[in-house]
Amino acid sequence: METKTMNLTCIRCPMGCSIRVELADGAVTSVTGNTCRRGEEYARTEAVAPVRTVTSTVKARGGVRPVVAVKAVPDVPKQSIFAVMDAIRAAKVCAPVHIGDVLIADVAGTGSNVVASADLAKA
């Protein structure tokens, strides 16, 4: 059996707890140091298949501003961040855009959607 210890800093809230994860054959066997449930969730995911929230902007035509803020929902695998960014940079939308609008479905094959996180009114 192959055992491994990982020391993580939780990124789920500003406290930034130091969390220790024990793994056996790639499976999590214990999580210590977290002070909440979100921390345990984070550590279990981070140790096996880390994900991140990607936020960016998408180019927009005909709006009061040239870009609109977006986020990928749910979080995307860490190794897909740049593939997701390539798709976001290539995208163009037309104003108006409303908070929650899906602008790119299944971005870069991750199963996550890129949704607007701000409103953009027509110029």
Binding site: T9, T55, T57, R65, K71, I81, A118
Partner: protein, 418 residues
């Protein structure tokens, strides 16, 4: 001159929360003045996530967080005047304002909430030698250019200062295809949140050079590089450690300054430590009826705390308008000692304090395995063990009315070894 019960200066997170709380406390005639063309303040350009965990129990982006408060303000019918700049505020609470629509006008308020926020320390405050080429931006300016104007300010980037805005911009510039070569930090520790070190620097292999600073900027027309050097305990460059890094852009994330020109015009006393007004338990400044909250009062780490604090300022402004703060009695000073740099508020009047008052404070440097203690006239009323306390993160203590007596002389907040 038109007269309003309450005028709030600024429609960022602090101004919106203050106006909402005042309205909910029964003040009908509220006017919020905002110089920008949109409400929401700095949150509009903070498109990253991490806002709202305390307030909404979920992680929101900046625009989403602002959107929640705007919706509430709209539902309550709070008037927000955009594109309107306040030029002057007098101690009699007369505001001189200008706008394209109405020109120059004067408004009289019964109470005022200051919610103007803060601005970034500029290059001029740093004494970095070198020419003045294009390519030097404060981190927040770069954030606005990228996230609002859709414009990338550079490709090869060095960031000076490891506050949260610098860290967030290191990631943002990297995601947009720039090469962030390093983040240099003068102090031996980062002023940013631990989670931002992890998710903005470690995730993208961006080196954080602690105890380093920029000692020269190269290039006449455009930045061509910067020279960084290690600094000693005296924060002066150590000879022989200089390293020149080619780059076309230097971002500065070197601190925030509360924006208090209007407060000073009104004769409001400012704290030399926070840069914001000196306030009592009601978040009222030394000028009766003028309240302050958010980053104009003291720079906060989390917007959730801004909203909470601003809500109290708004509710207290409502009490003032109703005439409930007219016989306040004596004030008990709150002081920071032994590692606690300041407290907000700076004083409490037991006669008018509510059941509980939240006291926020910051420590002077990072401490490990110490205690945060509170003394009332020499008697210790709180003693909390902390694994780590850092200057970048605000601490808070809830002081209850029952803990203060009519003869209380002072309350001390301090860091203790045991």
């Amino acid at each position: 001159m038109s007269v309003h019960d309450l005028i709030v200066i600024g429609a960022g997170p602090a101004g919106l929360a203050a106006a909402i709380a005042a309205k909910e406390a029964g003040v009908d005639d509220i006017l919020v003045l905002e110089r920008d063309s949109v409400p929401g303040g700095i949150l509009n350009q903070c498109i990253h996530n991490g806002f709202g965990l305390h307030t909404f129990q979920e992680e929101l982006t900046g625009p989403e967080y602002a959107g929640r408060f705007l919706k509430k303000a709209e539902e309550l019918g709070i008037a927000i005047r955009l594109n309107t700049m306040v030029l002057d505020l007098s101690k009699d609470k007369v505001l001189t304002v200008t706008s394209r629509e109405n020109g120059l006008e004067q408004l009289q308020a019964k109470a005022v909430v200051l919610a103007m926020g803060c601005r970034e320390r500029p290059r001029g405050a740093l004494n970095i030698p070198g020419y003045r080429p294009a390519g030097i931006y404060s981190a927040g300016t770069a954030q606005r250019l990228v996230n609002i104007e859709g414009f990338m300010p550079g490709k090869e980037v060095v960031i000076l200062g490891s506050g949260d805005i610098g860290l967030i911009m290191a990631r943002r510039m990297t995601l947009e295809g720039a090469h962030v070569k390093c983040v240099a930090e003068l102090l031996p520790y980062s002023g940013g949140l631990k989670r931002n070190i992890v998710q903005c620097l470690h995730d993208y292999n961006i080196p954080l050079k602690l105890s380093h600073t920029v000692i020269d900027i190269l290039g006449r027309e455009r930045v061509e590089g910067v020279t960084i050097a290690q600094v000693g305990p005296d924060r002066k460059p150590v000879p022989g450690t200089e390293e020149t890094i080619p780059c076309d852009t230097l971002l500065l994330s070197v601190g925030l300054l509360p924006e208090n020109e209007l407060s000073e015009n009104a004769g409001v006393e400012l704290s030399p430590i926070t840069g914001g007004p000196v306030v009592n338990e009601s978040l009222e400044t030394g000028v009766p009826g003028i309240f302050a909250c958010g980053n104009v009062l003291h720079v906060h780490d989390l917007v959730d705390y801004v909203s909470e604090e601003a809500g109290r300022a708004g509710a207290n402004a409502a009490r003032y308008i109703r005439g409930e703060l007219t016989e306040p009695g004596d004030a008990v000073p709150l002081r920071g000692k032994n590692g606690v740099r300041y407290t907000v508020p700076q004083s409490i009047r037991p006669a008018v304090m509510p059941e509980e008052v939240v006291v926020r404070f910051r420590v002077a440097e990072p401490y490990y395995d110490r205690y945060l203690s509170v003394y009332v006239d020499g008697e210790r009323i709180s003693h909390r063990k902390k694994q780590i306390v850092a200057p970048g993160e605000m601490e808070q203590f809830t002081l209850r009315r029952s803990q203060l007596g009519p003869d209380t002389r002072e309350v001390i907040f301090c860091v203790e070894d045991q």
